[in-house]
């Protein structure tokens, strides 16, 4: 196995509320390790804490507890304290390119900024380099002079990807980069991301709620629920042999388009209930309020993480050995 590039150790983020001693437990102790060259998919419903996780990795939020390690170095510091070389290594693409690109600037200006800062280029060399990056994401050179509002949603996201790519990073965090796009456009973005991963030896942390998409592109997948990772494993294993009742519920809820896919959905499980508020996390296993297999112990004790095979772990009392 390759070296670990990014590691989160018992990472937590609590946000204070107006009431004293009440916290929004957005991320509540997660352990993730992503190997060099991985395409790691972090899946969860809204409110499960997946974006908060991404922001902690980027230093936008400071963790309440726990650590983020990048190539074994502790980087749980705010982004203003991070060194330029670390910022170069880690880049992010946000969900909505309509708001993450400055509408007052041209595409050229947007992609120039990181190139100018990290590569110290200017003038003609800078422009040529920027056009190189635009071509890397298959945008024609004339887009250099366009404003974001003149181009389509998919193309805007390609600009955001070019901007992230412009520092020659080793790892890119992708925070739902295609959830605002149509499927015919999504397919194009995904193919670009895959090609870039090969060409530039990138590692990805892809945050999404779309399971079918992860089935196609991720190498490893983690399922997040209420600030915790409930199941993690290689993509094939997790989709063919899902273990956690929540993973099964998710897969069974996906609307599919072929008979072959229908066969893969777990039967005898029905989605019910909603994700509880992260302020009042249920005691024991956070999922027991929606789980049809919940027993007495699930309401009292938080389950441990249990290894089913070498790199397939699940956090559920069903798999207690004793």
């Amino acid at each position: 196995m390759n070296d670990i590039i990014l590691e989160m150790k018992n990472l937590k983020k609590y946000f204070p509320t107006k009431k004293e001693n009440m916290y929004v437990k957005a991320v509540d102790g997660i352990d993730v390790s992503i190997a060099e060259g991985d395409f790691f998919g972090l899946i969860g419903e809204s409110g499960s804490g997946k974006s908060t996780t991404a922001y902690m990795v980027m230093g936008i939020y400071e963790p309440t507890a726990g650590k983020v390690l990048y190539r074994k170095k502790d980087i749980s510091i705010p982004s203003v304290q991070r060194s330029l070389s670390l910022k170069r290594e880690l880049q992010i693409v946000f969900q909505d390119p309509g708001t993450s690109l400055n509408s007052q600037r041209t595409v050229g200006q947007i992609v120039s900024l990181p190139v100018a800062i990290h590569k110290r280029l200017h003038g003609k060399k800078l422009k040529n380099k920027v056009i190189e990056y635009l071509e890397e994401v298959e945008l024609p050179a004339e887009y250099y002079y366009k404003h974001p509002n003149e181009i389509g949603g998919g193309e805007k996201q390609l600009v955001a990807i070019a901007r992230a790519l412009a520092t020659d990073p080793s790892m890119i965090i992708l925070d739902e980069p295609t959830s605002a796009l149509d499927v015919s456009v999504q397919a194009k973005i995904i193919n670009t991301l895959r090609r870039l991963q090969n060409n530039f030896d990138l590692s990805y942390l892809f945050i999404t709620h779309d399971l079918s998409l992860m089935r196609n592109i991720a190498t490893r997948v983690g399922i997040m629920y209420l600030g915790k990772i409930v199941e993690v494993g290689p993509v094939e294993e997790l989709f063919l042999r899902p273990q956690h009742p929540y993973t099964k519920m998710l897969i069974s809820s996906i609307p599919v388009v072929t008979k072959e896919e229908e066969k893969l959905r777990p039967k005898n499980i029905k989605s019910k209930g909603e994700i509880p508020s992260p302020v009042n996390v249920p005691p024991g296993c956070g999922f027991h309020t929606r789980c049809s297999l919940a027993e007495k112990i699930c309401k009292e004790k938080e389950p441990d993480i249990i290894s089913i095979s070498e790199d397939h772990q699940v956090k559920c009392h069903l798999f207690d050995t004793d």
Binding site: S184, A187, L213, R215, N216, V256, T258, S271
Partner: protein
């Protein structure tokens, strides 16, 4: 089957500062009594405009250039406002895409429901009817919900409240405009099941608008595929998904990520045309791999390629 709703050759355009946007380009659509129909298409293809034309809710700058819309034999485009309100109250109910925008944030669910019932001419026991409507939409603790404001509810609950409002009086046809787009997959599953159950209980017809092919397949008996203001393919759900004919439908299904992990296609190149100057002829030809010279000149007719399976493409002639 008897037709409950029939849209014939509908053309709608919008006046803007830049010029006239020719959006709907001859829509033909039928919904039979008790039928579940889905209209599928990507952003900006005119799905919502079609529904709004039926309800006569189009913006002021919209012009209906041509076409007829029959609901139970009456042309909705020409009937009086009084009759139209009858149709809105007892004929067609509508669920909108964004429940947060559809609900008024400063009134409780109860106040909003009572207003609807009042407009429908119900004078007595409006509170009881309102609570019954919430119960119908399977909202837990309906009495408390009745006193709640929309912000106190989760997204899934808000959509249930919207369903309650649409069905607070008995309707013959329910329009659901992307009812699950902003919802998580497990909540989407529950809302779709609820719509399906209400369809059976109330013996209505259903038109579901969605951009998700999977959702359409899950719910509908028959599917219409829309592209750039035209219906390009229609047929029984199974036919459309197992045996798609139009290059756009084929491309769309191939672009979807599959649970089997089957390789995804590279998407469809290009994007939806500008409605100011839409391509003459087939509106899909600039993105089509199979385009011939005739596609640029003439709009293809709907051709029946199989039993009840229609496609508008020159490849099938």
């Amino acid at each position: 089957m008897e037709n409950l709703l029939e849209i014939k050759d509908l053309h709608v355009s919008f006046k803007t500062y830049d010029g006239i946007l020719k959006v709907l380009n001859g829509i033909n659509l039928n919904v039979g009594v008790g039928e579940k129909v889905s209209v599928v298409g990507e952003t900006g293809c005119g799905k919502t405009t079609t529904l709004k034309s039926v309800m006569r809710l189009l913006a002021r700058n919209a012009i209906v250039d041509d076409g007829e819309i029959y609901f139970k034999g009456e042309n909705l485009l020409t009937i009086s406002n009084k009759k139209l309100n009858q149709v809105r109250n007892y004929g067609i109910g509508m669920i909108f895409q964004d429940p947060t925008a559809a609900l008024n944030p400063v009134f409780t669910l109860g106040e909003q429901l009572e207003e609807i019932l009042k407009a429908n001419g119900i004078k007595k026991n409006r509170k009881k009817d309102g609570i019954d409507a919430l119960k119908l939409a399977r909202l837990p603790d309906a009495e408390r919900m009745y006193e709640s404001y929309p912000f106190q509810l989760s997204g899934g609950m808000r959509q249930r409240a919207c369903i309650a409002m649409a069905l607070s009086t008995k309707k013959e046809l329910l329009f659901a405009d992307e009812p699950t787009t902003n919802l998580d997959v497990t909540i989407q599953d529950q809302v779709l099941r609820l719509i399906n159950k209400l369809y059976e209980e109330r013996q209505m017809s259903l038109v579901l608008i969605t951009h998700s092919l999977g959702v359409a397949r899950e719910v509908a008996d028959r599917v219409y595929v829309m592209y750039a203001g035209s219906i390009i393919e229609s047929g029984k759900t199974r036919e459309i998904f197992d045996n798609p004919k139009h290059p756009y439908t084929i491309g769309l299904i191939k672009s979807l990520p599959k649970l089997t992990g089957e390789e995804m296609a590279k998407g469809i190149p290009g994007r939806i045309p500008n409605y100011l100057h839409p391509p003459a002829g087939c509106r899909f030809y600039p993105r089509c791999q199979h385009s011939k010279s005739i596609c640029k000149e003439k709009k293809p007719e709907m051709i029946e390629v199989d039993d009840n399976h229609y496609v508008s493409c020159f490849r099938y002639k």
